[in-house]
Every structure is written in C-alpha cells, then in structure tokens.
C-alpha cells in the first residue's frame, strides 16, 4: 500500500508503453537503506526527446520510476542531503528489462571555515576550492573537485565531498577581488604553491571545521606595453588570462585611447596569456588577434608591443572511421583550442567532415555525440587514433598557424566496450566496504563505490591506458605520486584485486 503513491508520483504522464526503472539506495558505510533520496531517471524516448522522471525512495530505500517507452538509454542520478550525489548509466538495451539498480550513497564530508583578509575583514565573494591530483592526457594535474563561496561573515562550507585528502585554495573573486587586486590565490596555510603536508583529510560523514585562511597581499609584478593596431582596424581590447587556470575569468586591461598603452598590476607568478583582439569579440575570420604567453616570476615585464593581425582561418577536412567495419553514424568532431574555444563539424554518411574557419592556435581532438545523443547520454564511441597527414596527433594535438594543415585528419573510433571488475581488500585481505576506486583515463575519470563484499565494477569503458587508484578511508591519496598505468582491453577484463597498503 505504501508504494502506491510513490509509483504514481514517479510515473511519466505520456501514455503508451512504459519502462520501469527500479532499485534500492543504501548507505555505503553502514549498508542501511536510505529513505527520502531523490531519484531522477533521464531517458531518450524516440529520436530526439528526453524524458525525466523524479521520485523519492520509500522507508525501505526502494524506488520505482516509470518512463515512457521504449527508452533507448537511461541515466540515473540519486541525491540526498548528507550524502555524496551519485550518477550512473543504466545498460543500453531497449528491449531487455532493466535489472534492479543497487545504489550506494557515501556519507558526505564537509569542510568549513573562515576566510579573512589582511585587515581581518571577511573575504566576501572569494571561493574556497578543494583540489586533488588527477591523471589526464596532459599528465598528473591538480584538478578542482568542489568549492564554496565565502559569505559576508567570511564563512564558507564545502559539502558533497567524498572522503579523502585535499589541497585547499582560496581564489579571490567578487567583492574581495574588486577591493584589492593584491589578493591572489593562496593555498591553505598561506602558500602560493600546493604543499603535500598542508592537505586536509576528511572522513566519510565527518564535518571538518576550522579550516581558516588569512589572506595576505602580494605585490606581484607589473606587465605593461602597447597594442599597435593596423591603420583602419577597429578598436582593440586586451585580456590577460591564466594559462594554468581556465576557470578564472580573464582580466580585462584598460587601453589608453591615445597610444594603446596598457598596465596590468599585481600579476601573480604563473603562465599568462596576453591577448589583444579587435572585431566581433568572438574571434571570427576578419577579426584581429595577437597573443603571447609569458612565464611570470618576480620581475616586471615591460615594453611589450602587441600588433594584432587579421585572422586567417583554415578549413580542416577529414574522415571518421569506425573500427571493426561498424557502420558509421553521425558524430561531431571538435577541435578544442588551447583557449577553450571549439570549432566543429558533423560527419556525413561516409564519415567525412569539413571543419570550416579554424583559427590559428594549438588544438586537441574532441569527439562528441550529436546533440540528441548527447542529451540522452549516448557516447559517440571513443577515439583511439587521430592522424594528421602522417603524424599521430590524438594525445599531443597539433598547431595551426594560418597555413593549411599538413593533410586530412583521420580519426579512428571504437565502439567496443570494456568492462573492469575487481575487489578492494585491506592489508589482511579482508574486503573493504564503502571504499572508493578511481579510474583515470586520458579524457575521462570514473569513480566506483565498493559494496559490502568489497566489489567494484566499471562498465562502458573503452580500451586504453588507465590508472586504477584505490582510496581507503584513513589513507593517503595515491594520486599525489605517480601510479603505473594498466592496459584495459575490449570486453571483460581479468578481475583486479586492489590491496590497500
């Protein structure tokens, strides 16, 4: 009887065939059912329509969501206050009944504290970030894993944090950044570089209070110079942007209308891109652009002269080949510029594509699902190779400098899925329940929570080189040093047994 209103609440209103997604939600540490968790099921109905159904778990932690069918693909997301939100895919078979989903929610950790400036005033508007090392195509990188704003009292509270060890950093923004540009990003305990010994540990379900910051002013260096435009060119703008940290907005530099002079004060150490452009502001053909990168240390950089030139775009032609004689379907091939801008094209019936108007810059290849597929969460397959002329460019990317690229771009894609299962055990060989296992590929990252038998599994992987990182509670982060990669092959891989040290 109890279930009836729940099922009604979860039912999609469109009439006709329905698909039921059901499951149970448990606390990953205690194994007890979680009531009142919000469960959203998003599915692809027909060719271009997504449907989302939301319901809550009952007292036994059970949910049933009835979707309009047939559903090509479903994504499940589960959240509840006090737990780390979870999301995952449901196997992609429109005909087969969905197996019951068993979702393990990990109790969240919370990190909170106060941030004040050198005057002891609240650093209102700053962001406190938590970071961890990840393995990426560009090597081991410190990546943001979460964050929270600092309020008018100087307080912050970062929640939805999985247990582990984190670097913490304050990034001045909002009011504090406007008040004094000498406040720059600082790591916990006042360093400008991340330090291993200053990481903060949190356990599942723990609230770590009192992680306080007192920001100090840093003079930094001055970068100055002139922007010299060709005669008749439109009025330029100048921007200074951190190369290492794309999340921070670029700094806009005032240009002296008389001579194009600019001054950027209090620039902290790091790698910075200085850009002057004129035209549409969106970097289009016919716009003017000059771009230079500077390593900033402790010395001023002066007398820079930037002379923007008209942008000469190039067309990049190529073809996508699906491995194993798979019939090609439309996907989108994107070229992602180092500034984050993307040029792209959709493949034709034979897999060929032409990406028009690609601007000078360094590019990496980014294969995407088409719009409708991506809404439904359907992967495009996975690029395993990209050749530009006779060069392999998938991992390193390639440069365009205004001249035609050195030949067509041939992208090879696989759709063969790999599955990896395993078990997490402690040093005595006993299973670790509620543990986390991270899987890092070049372009993606996955996390799994172990069940009561210590078992974990990753499906929907593609072959390639990965780093598998077990995370025990009360343990360090293996990502803080290098971890040898493992090769994942197509199909079911031999089970891994990960032993915690």
């Amino acid at each position: 009887m109890r279930l009836l209103p729940l099922v009604l609440a979860c039912a999609a209103a469109l009439s006709g065939q329905t698909v039921v997604v059901q499951g149970d939600v448990y606390n990953s540490i205690t194994g007890t059912p979680i009531a009142g968790a919000q469960v959203s099921v998003r599915g692809m109905v027909g060719s271009d329509t997504t449907a989302t159904v939301t319901c809550a778990t009952d007292a036994a932690g059970h949910f049933e969501a009835s979707m309009p069918g047939p559903v090509a693909y479903s994504l499940l997301s589960v959240s509840r206050a006090g737990f780390v939100a979870w999301g995952g895919a449901i196997p992609n078979d429109p005909e087969a009944p969905r197996p019951p989903q068993r979702v393990l929610l990990m109790p969240e950790a919370v990190i909170s504290g106060k941030v004040v400036d050198e005057d002891g005033f609240p650093a209102e508007g700053a962001w406190v970030e938590i970071l961890r090392y990840n393995f990426t195509a560009e090597g081991r990188k410190l990546i943001k894993e979460g964050g929270a704003p600092v309020n008018d009292l100087g307080e912050y509270r970062i929640f939805n944090v999985p247990y582990g060890l984190y670097y913490l950093r304050v990034v001045p923004s909002g009011r504090i950044a406007q008040w004094d540009a000498r406040y720059i990003p600082e790591y916990y305990l006042g360093t400008l570089e991340p330090r291993l010994e200053n990481r903060v540990r949190v356990e599942a379900g723990q609230e770590q209070h009192g992680i306080d910051f007192r920001l100090t002013r840093h003079e930094g260096v001055t970068i100055s110079g002139h922007v010299v435009m060709p005669a008749g060119a439109p009025t330029p703008v100048a921007l200074l942007e951190s190369v290492e940290d794309h999340m921070n907005p670029p700094r806009s530099l005032a240009l002296d209308p008389a001579d194009g002079g600019f001054v950027a004060r209090h620039v902290p150490p790091g790698t910075w891109a200085l850009r002057a452009m004129a035209g549409s502001g969106q970097l289009q053909p016919g716009d003017f652009l000059a771009e230079r990168t500077y390593k900033v240390g402790d010395t001023d950089i002066r007398d820079i002269v930037l002379t923007p030139r008209a942008i000469e775009p190039q067309d990049v032609t190529g073809k996508v080949i699906f491995e194993g004689g798979v019939q090609p379907h439309a996907i989108v091939v994107g070229l992602r510029r180092n500034t984050g801008q993307v040029s792209s094209a959709r493949t034709g019936d034979d897999g060929s594509f032409v990406i028009h108007g690609v601007l000078p810059g360094h590019y990496r290849i980014d294969v995407q699902a088409t719009n409708s597929d991506s809404v439904a969460g359907i992967g495009p397959g996975f690029a395993v190779s990209a050749r530009l002329g006779d060069r392999e460019v998938l991992r390193q990317g390639f440069d365009l400098d205004g001249a035609p690229p050195g030949g067509p771009l041939q992208v090879t894609v696989t759709e063969a899925v790999a599955i990896l299962e395993g078990k997490l055990v402690d040093k005595n060989g006993l299973p670790v329940a509620g543990g986390r296992v991270m899987l890092y590929g070049d372009w993606c990252r996955f996390a799994a929570t172990t069940d009561r038998d210590g078992a974990f599994h990753f499906d929907h992987l593609y072959r390639g080189e990965y780093r598998v990182v077990p995370l025990a509670r009360n343990n360090g982060n293996p990502e803080d040093s290098d971890v040898p990669p493992v090769q994942i092959v197509e199909g079911r891989n031999p089970p891994l047994v990960l032993k915690l040290q």
Partner: protein, 442 residues
C-alpha cells in the same frame, strides 16, 4: 645633514631646469571626510575606504575613532569612493544596491569634505525543506522586492539577490537595505530532485506572492524565513505543433510556459516534452500564461552555442482547472524587422545604432543594426520573446539620442513594456528619436 640639504638643493635645481613653468604638474589635492552611522548619527571608526580613478592604483584609508578619514597627495581628477565595514554598507537612497560614490576633485571648487552614511544591513536566512521535511540542497532562494512602477514589462517584483541552500538546506541572503522583501525557493529547470508536483514556493508555504508573507527589514535586522516546498498537482496541457510548411529537415521545438504576471526572472517554469509534432506540459498549475515556442533544426551541432531559430511563437494561454487536451500551436516564421529612424524637430539626422533585445527561459533574443543614410535599418536573427528597443550613438556608450516613440504600422508600441515577437502583422517599424543639446541641428 649637510648632504641631505645638498641633495635637496640639487633636486630643486634639476626640477627648475627641466620643467617649464606652464608644464608644471598640477598641485596635489586632498580629500577628507567622515563616516557616520545613518541610524544613530554616531561617527564610525574602522571603516576602510578605497578611492580609485580609472587606470591608476587605488588608494586606501581607514576612519579613526572620530569617524574621520583623509586622502593626501591626490592627482586632481574624478574618483570613485567605496566604504566597507563588516555588517554595514553605504546608504544609497536611489538603489537597493550599494554603488561607489563619485568624487570630483578636478578643480579647487570641487574640493571639500565628504560624509559617508553607513547602515547596518539586513539578513534573511532560513532552511528550505521538501514537502516531506527533508532539507533541499543547492536550491536557489530568491529575495525580491516590489518593482518600481514601469520598471519591467511584466514583473511585479524584482529580484534583489539569489542565494543557494547548502547540504543542510540552509541559505543566507545578506546586504539587504532596509525595505520590504519577499522570499521564494525556486524550482529551477536544472535543479535535480524536484518532483513534478513540487512547486516554486514563497515564504513560508505559498504558491504565489499574494499569499506569501512579506518581510519588513529594518537596519541590522536578522530575520529567519524557513520555507517548506508546496506539493500541488497540476493539470495537463497538450497538443500539436503545426509548422508553416512541410518541414525540409527534422525540426526540434522547445516550449515553455511563463506566468503572464511573473514575480521574478526565475527559470522555474514548465517546459514541455515534445515527441514528433506532439507536445505536453505534464503538470501545470491553472492560471494565465504566455507560451513561447522556438523551433530549430534537430541534431544541430552540440557545440553550437546559439542554435538558429527557424520558427516560433508567443501567445497568451489561459489554463483552467481541467487543463487543455488538444491545443494547436501554429508556428510562425521569424522574419527580420525592418524600419526607419526619424528625428524629432531640430535634431540633426545621423546614423545611429538600433538595439533590440529580450529574454525567455528558452533563449535570449537580440540584434543590433546601424541605420543607413535614409534612417532605414533591419534587425535580423531574432527569436520569440518580449522585445525592447533602444537607440544609441555610433561612438561611445553615452550619447544624446533618445528613443521617444515606436510605431508598428499605425500602432503605438509601449517603450516600457516592449512587444511580442514574432509580430502578428508585417508592418514597418518607425522610431522617433529626440536629441540633447549636442545632437541639435546647427
């Protein structure tokens, strides 16, 4: 001592040699002032002040125990002054948002003492829980106040700020000037975990602002506003989309229902599910709405930030207690709007920018054009929305051109309220522009 005097004498000599008298640097100026608590009239100590001028480094000062502060040795010019002390903000009678105080130090006449009035700001905090009492995480909570007359086209309240709940469902909205406010937990379209029949809820448990409890906040007030989200079933609105002609390619249409009288710019409005040419809003509360539809080519590039709209519509819709079972929506083409600028008497005809823009929860719509020598212009690439018009000079943001009236064919358009696009009839737009002193014909 002898050496110091010698150095000074040499420096003075060098200056007198290098600088002709008519190129001497302007004499430095001084700004002094005081800070008072606007409620008590008492002087305020430890207020920090920031004085900035474009292109120059800002300078800082702090008020003493008598509330006095002083900036010495300033280069004459125009400055902006800001004041800051925890728990306070400068009083600004013209806006609920603190603004820098302009300070003119360009001439001796402009010099003088300045008094800054600070007020202890108000705070609204509270907890948002779902209909079952579970805290709601990452829920936007908007604080609004009554809209000044004519401020916006269809909103009775304007949003002052937005805060978000944390993992305990708690929010804190600070820096509120003394005034009367409304608070609402918003069902935004991207918020996870809201069930179909959970509704945007006004403090404490109301479906609309009229039933909501207003909060009158005096200086320094800290007020709680706990919100329990309302569960209320809606009705079904469904029907068919009719394109102007047989579609040449697969189309994708998005539809949204906005309350005809909205209280904020929130995105917590019903979006339709579309399958083929059928659409359905599964759970709509009865009331008066504006339906907006935008049709674009299906399977567009996912990177395309702005999809090109092909058809669209905006129409009023009355949803009764029984819902609407079969509603035909005639999609319309989205043609450019052509028009002409005419100048008021004694104004010098000149090219101008004509800007048009508006928003719906589906998309922003906007275009600008420069008028030709005969004043004509064309605004293209528009999407369905309530659009507003403005004109500006070609150079500079601030100019003398002022839009006096807009006519569509014979129909006078309200400049404050704008008009719905696509237009019901294809009539030319005539904009009448007035001018300030420098825009007058000589």
């Amino acid at each position: 001592m002898t050496r110091a005097i010698l150095c000074f004498a040499l420096a003075a000599l060098a200056c007198s040699v290098c600088l002709p008298t008519n190129a001497r640097a302007p004499a430095p100026v001084v700004l002094d002032g005081s800070v008072i608590n606007s409620t008590t009239g008492a002087p305020m100590a430890d207020v920090r002040l920031r004085l900035s001028a474009t292109g120059d480094e800002p300078v800082y000062a702090r008020s003493d125990k008598n509330g006095q502060f002083r900036f010495d040795d300033l280069k004459p010019g125009r400055f902006e002054l800001e004041a800051d002390r925890p728990g306070f903000m400068p009083v600004n009678n013209s806006s609920p948002f603190p603004q820098p105080i302009p300070v003119d130090l360009t001439s001796r006449q402009a010099l003088g003492s300045i008094t800054i009035r600070m007020v202890a700001y108000g705070v609204v905090s509270g907890t948002v829980t779902d209909p079952d009492g579970v805290p709601m995480v990452r829920t936007p909570v908007e604080v609004l106040m009554d809209s000044p007359a004519g401020h916006t086209a269809n909103a009775q309240q304007i949003r002052v700020l937005t805060s978000f709940t944390d993992d305990r469902g708690e929010f804190r909205a600070a820096r509120l000037a003394p005034a009367t406010y409304y608070v609402t937990a918003v069902k935004s379209t991207w918020a996870n975990g809201w069930q179909d029949n959970w509704r945007t809820t006004w403090f404490p448990h109301a479906l609309d602002v009229a039933s909501s409890r207003a909060l009158t906040i005096a200086a320094g007030d800290q007020v709680r506003a706990d919100i329990r989200v309302v569960r209320q079933n809606g009705v079904r609105v469904a029907g068919r989309l009719i394109a102007p002609s047989a579609a040449e390619s697969a189309l994708k249409t998005k539809l949204v229902l906005e309350p005809q009288v909205s209280s904020s710019t929130d995105s917590g409005v019903p979006h339709a599910t579309v399958t083929g040419d059928r659409f359905e809003f599964a759970s709509v509360l009865p009331g008066q709405y504006v339906l907006t539809a935008i049709t674009s080519a299906a399977n567009a590039d996912p990177y395309a930030a702005a999809e090109k709209a092909i058809y669209g519509v905006r129409r009023r819709l009355d949803v009764g207690a029984g819902g609407i079972a079969e509603l035909n929506i005639d999609l319309q083409p989205l043609p450019p709007i052509s028009g002409r600028v005419v100048f008021a008497e004694a104004c010098k005809p000149r090219p101008l920018h004509v800007d048009i823009g508006g928003f719906t929860p589906l998309a922003s719509s906007g275009a600008d054009a420069v008028t030709a020598s005969d004043g004509s212009f064309t605004l293209a690439g528009l999407k369905p929305a309530r659009l507003s018009l403005s004109v500006r000079e070609l150079e500079g943001v601030f100019g003398d051109a002022t839009l006096i009236s807009a006519r569509l064919g014979e129909r006078e358009l309200s400049l404050a309220q704008g008009f719905d696009y696509p237009l019901a009839a294809d009539a030319p737009l005539t904009l009448t522009v007035g001018c300030g002193a420098s825009g007058r014909a000589k």
